[in-house]
Amino acid sequence: MIEVIDGGFFTTAQDGGRFGYRHAGVPVGGAMDRWAYRLANALVGNNGDEAVLEATMAGPTLRFHVEAVVAVCGGDFPCALNGRPFALWKPMAVEPGDVLEVGVCRTGFRAYIAVSGGIDVPPVMGSRSTYVPAQLGGFAGRPLRCGDALPLGAAHGRRVAEPLRWGLASAARRYISGKMKTVRAVPGPEYDEFTPESRRQFFAARYEVTPQSDRIGYRLSGPALALVREREMVSEAVVFGTVQVPASGQPIVLMADSQTSGGYPRIAQVAAVDLPILAQARPGDLIQFQPIRPEEAARLYTEQERQLAGWISAIRRQWEGER
């Protein structure tokens, strides 16, 4: 069991997502930064679909009541174990009584705290992800609070020869950079309905992430985008990364908790490979969209999946060596 001493700013249990219910209007949800989520799980020796804790901006303080392996991946959150600095992107053995403090994020915005065995909250509709707007899944359908007791999966008690002297190379975290984020995007289904000036602006200007941004969507601020001719749109599918433009002309990028359908014109679709970059953007950061062809986005997606599989099997080989 893990005891929550301080829940942090907004910490929720998340896994890979709730699939199979889009026809029922249920958002997929899951970890915003799937890259860091999957690597964090692999680092603690999990299979890959276990639930982890997603911390936002200011992390939680946790006390372990069992022995386990823990890893933190994602933005640059200063972490301490019993007051001593704790490195990110590497596994660490913890013992009953140990206290992990995840501080305030310096760069990036989200961290994934994976624990061996996974956070064993009851699955709802096949997933342990928290969808806060419907109080669905996760720990009581809400962010963590002081006093919560998080159950761990049976496999938590991995005994390892200490200390674990390996971790991930910095190449795995290069995408979490400064304030300026370049994000590739494919022109969306209604792209051609925007004025030539709006189409140019969208890929030329920088859009600022506003404080009205959350797991559902990021509201951006920048040059207003306009349609050549206003028309009544019929609701159609939207997904994580869809950039829609409401009447205000200020774009909204839909994120992991995006609803399943929407009725606003879609100017672009962020390339799935660059969603982790966006997931690590914070209010005040600037987004520069860069046009990319759909075939190229598809190729990069497959390539990234293979690259990730490569990292994960390298981590598994390390674990084999520990046994």
Partner: protein
């Protein structure tokens, strides 16, 4: 019958099939027939099929189902083949509603807006047969078509911060039921004791795209009984 449609990639793992850009019952029929056919012919790597008003979106795993072109080829093979039309049985779902009173605080306003009695509003609303065009917007929320134009009422000027789950409302030419307690600006005329969305049911959404919905007026006593029983 040949069906006209266009395909476009929504993202790296989804393709949308659009039959029209209007809301139309005949088009929506084609959407549901196509969804049923694709569901029946589903091949490995095709993960989800989600119908909308006049389009449907197929989600796939590109590492299993193949490229966008591969999935399009599969779709072309299976769309609009009327010679093997999949017979789709249409389900009618009856939703009991306790109209007015504390459950329908805007019923008097709706009646006044149209210059008719509250009873007439209830009679008109419960006489309709409503098509579930699609489920979307929020978990279990059904977009219903078929509201009598005599009941079309603008949204409330100031939305409520919390509308209880099960509330039945009118917004413009639409009627619908709130599956979850959320903020909302619809004119509330009643409430159902049924749970439109229950994450612990095998099929969490009571309504599915393509269903027909009817509303049956009930009294407060039956409401309480059904609420206890369900």
């Amino acid at each position: 019958m040949t069906v006209e449609y266009t395909l476009f990639p929504l993202c790296e793992y989804a393709v949308t099939i659009r039959f029209s850009d209007r809301i139309d019952e005949a088009v929506n029929d084609i959407v549901h027939q196509t969804a049923a056919r694709l569901q029946a012919e589903r091949k490995e790597g095709i993960e989800e099929i989600a119908p909308a008003f006049s389009s449907l979106t197929v989600y796939y795993d590109p590492l299993v189902a193949g490229s966008y072109a591969d999935v399009c080829a599969w779709l072309h093979e299976n769309i609009g083949r009327s010679e093997q039309a999949v017979r789709r049985s249409v389900r009618t779902v009856v939703i009991p509603v306790c109209y007015g009173g504390e459950f329908g605080p805007d019923l008097p306003d709706v009646a006044r807006f149209h210059g008719i009695s509250e009873d007439e509003v209830v009679k008109l609303h419960s006489a309709g047969r409503y098509r579930v065009y699609m489920i979307g917007f929020s978990p279990g929320f059904a977009y219903l078509g078929g509201l009598s134009p005599r009941l079309a009422t603008p949204r409330r000027a100031v939305p409520r911060t919390k509308v209880p789950a099960g509330s039945v409302g009118i917004a413009g030419g639409q009627t619908g039921v709130y599956p979850l307690a959320t903020p909302g600006g619809w004119q509330l005329i009643g409430r159902t004791p049924l749970r439109l969305f229950d994450p612990h049911r095998e099929e969490p959404s009571l309504l599915a795209a393509g269903d027909i919905v009817e509303f049956r007026p009930i009294g407060a006593r039956e409401f309480a009984r059904l609420e206890r029983g369900t």
